[in-house]
Amino acid sequence: MKRNRREQEGLCDLNKHVHAHAESVHEEPSAEDQALIAQLLHGFDQMEQAIRQPEPPPLHELEQLIAGEKRKLRKRAGLEVALFLVIALTLIGGNMLLASINIVVFAAIQGLVFVAMIAFAVRFFYRAKKKVKSGHA
């Protein structure tokens, strides 16, 4: 019988997830493979018992870690927005210049991008619907 270790990891996880368990038990490994696998699993268990697991860090330490990381992330986010604004003003500036010089090309680009976006959205929908259909099948 296949040992599913995930339940045994001791986490009361009520987040039900239907994973393709059927697929993983479809092919039973050959007899000699099963013996080998049993050896490996035994070894993993031994390893787990022998190696001293460090205790989970205390909550306040984790909160410090989180605070530090969040600060770093906020700073990086700010830099990204600043960079984006520079790019934005450049691109918009250029685009407006184009609009005032040659409205036809400008309108053509507008039309192209619009069509491309709609096509992208449609293609996404088509593929997403296909996935849902095969998922429920």
């Binding site: 599913n4 990891e9 986490l11 860090p57």
Partner: protein
């Protein structure tokens, strides 16, 4: 639904919820990492990295898989990236790893370090990982494919060849 609520709170920025989440899953993460890397020191480093990555990407978690699965997916990707980057130094690293292995082998008071585990350690991570994920943790082929960022067919063939290689190594050992 307790954990789901906690995750939602952490996603909205509740640091306390995030800390509780990380603490709750820490030992699962560490156990996985030790089995994956076969290197306790590296495991701790990657655990740290993983937690930071988790904080960064928590709002991208979409509930499609278990949180613990998502967490070890992060860890696996970090590990694979590291291993890929140190390809050149990998030989040296393997030596060092072997040294550490014998070190804690002695400290670990193991009755016997089975030949199979020994051979598994010598196997590259690309073959060891799918075997660990499929036969110890029970993940499906496409879940493993997603974790390792490789096609599901490759997962299947790696497990097959990995086991084959192990059998070969073990029969060679027996003959000695």
């Amino acid at each position: 639904m307790d954990e789901l609520k906690q995750i939602k709170r952490a996603q909205r920025g509740d640091s306390q919820a995030m800390a509780q989440l990380l603490q709750a899953h820490y030992s699962f993460l560490m156990k996985y990492l030790i089995k994956m890397t076969m290197n306790p020191a590296l495991a701790e480093d990657i655990a740290q990295e993983t937690m930071l990555r988790c904080i960064e990407k928590i709002h991208l978690y979409n509930g499609k898989s278990k949180f613990s699965s998502w967490l070890i997916t992060l860890a696996t990707r970090i590990y694979i990236d590291q291993m890929r980057r140190t390809k050149v130094e990998k030989q040296w690293k393997n030596q060092e790893q072997a040294l550490r292995r014998t070190e804690w082998q002695v400290k670990a008071r193991l009755a016997e370090w089975t030949d199979a585990m020994h051979a598994l350690t010598r196997l590259g991570y690309e073959w060891r990982l799918p075997i660990l994920l499929k036969h110890y943790y029970g993940y499906a082929y496409d879940e493993i494919a997603d974790m390792m960022d490789i096609p599901p067919g490759t997962v299947k063939s790696r497990i097959h060849h990995g086991l084959q290689q192990l059998r070969k190594e073990l029969t060679i050992d027996e003959k000695e």
